[in-house]
Amino acid sequence: MARTLEKTQVMEGSRAIAASVQRCRPQVIAAYPITPQTHIVEHLAQAVANGELKAEYVKVESEHSAMSAVLGAEATGVRAYTASSSQGVLLMHEVLYNVAALRLPLVMTVANRAISQPINIWNDHQDAMSARDTGFIQIFAEDNQEACDLQYQAYKIAEHKDVLLPVMVCVDGYVLTHSYEPVSLLDQDLADQFLPPYEPSWALDVDRPVTYGVMLGPGEYLEHKYVLQQAQKRALGVIEDVAREFGTLTGRAHGGLVEEYRLDDADVALVGLGSLVSALREAADQLRAQGIKAGVLKIRTFRPFPAEKIVAALGGVKRVVVIDKGYSLGSGGILGMEVTAALASAGVPAVVDRFVGGLGGRPIPASTVVRAVVSPELPRRQDGFLDLKPEYLGEGD
């Protein structure tokens, strides 16, 4: 095994992600610059310029066209890649639905970032959350090693014949993309073993002319969406299988749909997505030191939503504290709502706190999480918002 894993090296997250994407051998890349995603596609452009990656790199004029170009490329039967952030993901929005509905298994890395206005280039999950209904599979990385390993897994999941859906690999902007962490890449042979060349199930082919992207009326459209939902459901199993296979091959496991930490005997479960989970682990340790039996449920896969796994993991706890980096204005924390709905419909009696923090890059240290668990009264009164600064709020707020 040591022979096929490259030596651990300290790398910038974006560089490590780009190196991992390169090892997936995408044949067409189309991307548009946006902070904090840009380093990823810059490194890929350099790899193409150096002849280290044999791919067509389409330097498009917008994110809408980036997603459209990889749509066209995948439809022609090649493995394609793009990356974006924030407004870029929003500009792509209508194309995302198209890619999923056309069953094109491309992979996009999202360096998660806040949404304008006010313009803010720092991390939260509003961009990914805005795409949760598009048909994309969404998996969140906790650290850079997982962000790297997810690139290979994402293609394997997407291209699986039972799935054929695009995958969005969500990586916290700056927190991960611009952090230097030790990572170990797969060498090319191992990457090729795990991820063989792409064999499209359909493609635009002059020798087999087929019409794609047709008009469906009220008589057929509903069934089309049902079929997509079945593919999402099948992905639940495929994601776990792929994570297991990757773990066997590399010795690295990050969970499939969810990952548990100290949950076995826990009274309180902390739930979150992405790099926040590391703070949740630290908070759980601190709470246990104070005599509160806390554990963590990392939601690794947000779409398809692993409701059964969540219910199984949280069925025994008395209290669930979900901390969201995505918020539906007029409603509440988005992960929190979905976890609440999953638990309620399964009859789990746990009390659920739906807190939101970290919007626009505000750090959520373990101390914030501990405080939210120990003294939840203030955030409960403030629509779940953590660490609000009164000096910025008006009298009516």
Partner: protein, 306 residues
Amino acid sequence: MPKVIAPRDPKEWSLFTAGHTACAGCGQSLGARLVLNAAGPRTILVNATGCLEVFTTRYPSSAWRVPWLHSLFENASAVGSGVEAALKALGKADDVHVIVQGGDGGTADIGFGSLSGMFERGHNILYVCYDNEAYMNTGIQRSGLTPFGASTTTSPVGSEVLGNTTGKKDLPAIAVAHGVPYVATTTVAYPKDLEKKVKKALSIKGPKYIQILVPCPLGWGHDTSLTIRLARLAVQSGIFPVIEVENGKLTSVMRIARKVPVDEYLKPQARFRHLFTPAGREELERVQALADANIERFGLLGSKAG
């Protein structure tokens, strides 16, 4: 599941089949058939949203005997760019034509950014704009290619305003400004000219742009039997110059043997009816002036036209 029909011998079949749901007298369906049959079976079509997309692919039927892909309204050029890039990656780029096609709204307005990107990056793609001078699929709204004076549902005739107050965006010139090596216009009244231009375009590497005037009986308000006649009168009046620009140089124009006053072209069309009322006299004169300016600009009556 729909049955996939591949022609045994493409030469025996039109690649664009009958049985679609276009209106009687539709200029765009005729244009699309001529374009595709000229391009031949080794063509991939990327279609913008619009009439052509809707009337040819109502599930489970399709009018297309070549691989055909539709994604959205404004992204056809970008989708085509990806198709072409993938063909390059697969080593098939020399063997297959890529044609992106859309209406005037999908080309000049909402798809303009992606079209510009496709031109500027130099993709080996022929873009065909079927110009029926308004958003017909959504019910005859003004586009950037709606001509001066035309009444549409969003540039209606009222007591204060007489139809569209602006002229057509000069897309061929914009394509030329991008360095597009082959830019041409034509109409469905001249099938030989159209086919020749499609074939010539496809023999040239890089981006190509052809704009085809396609009368729309519904949107223009003319008798369905007049489609070809109006497409011819548009040229003979100077309203729609038929030209070729190669590497930035005007290399041919379709000359006007007998100059037709614009009245002859405008009168059979309900969208111009108000120009023939006393209130419309000034507008009518302006339309004639626009036609005369085209004749002057491209030398349509001159003796040296190519």
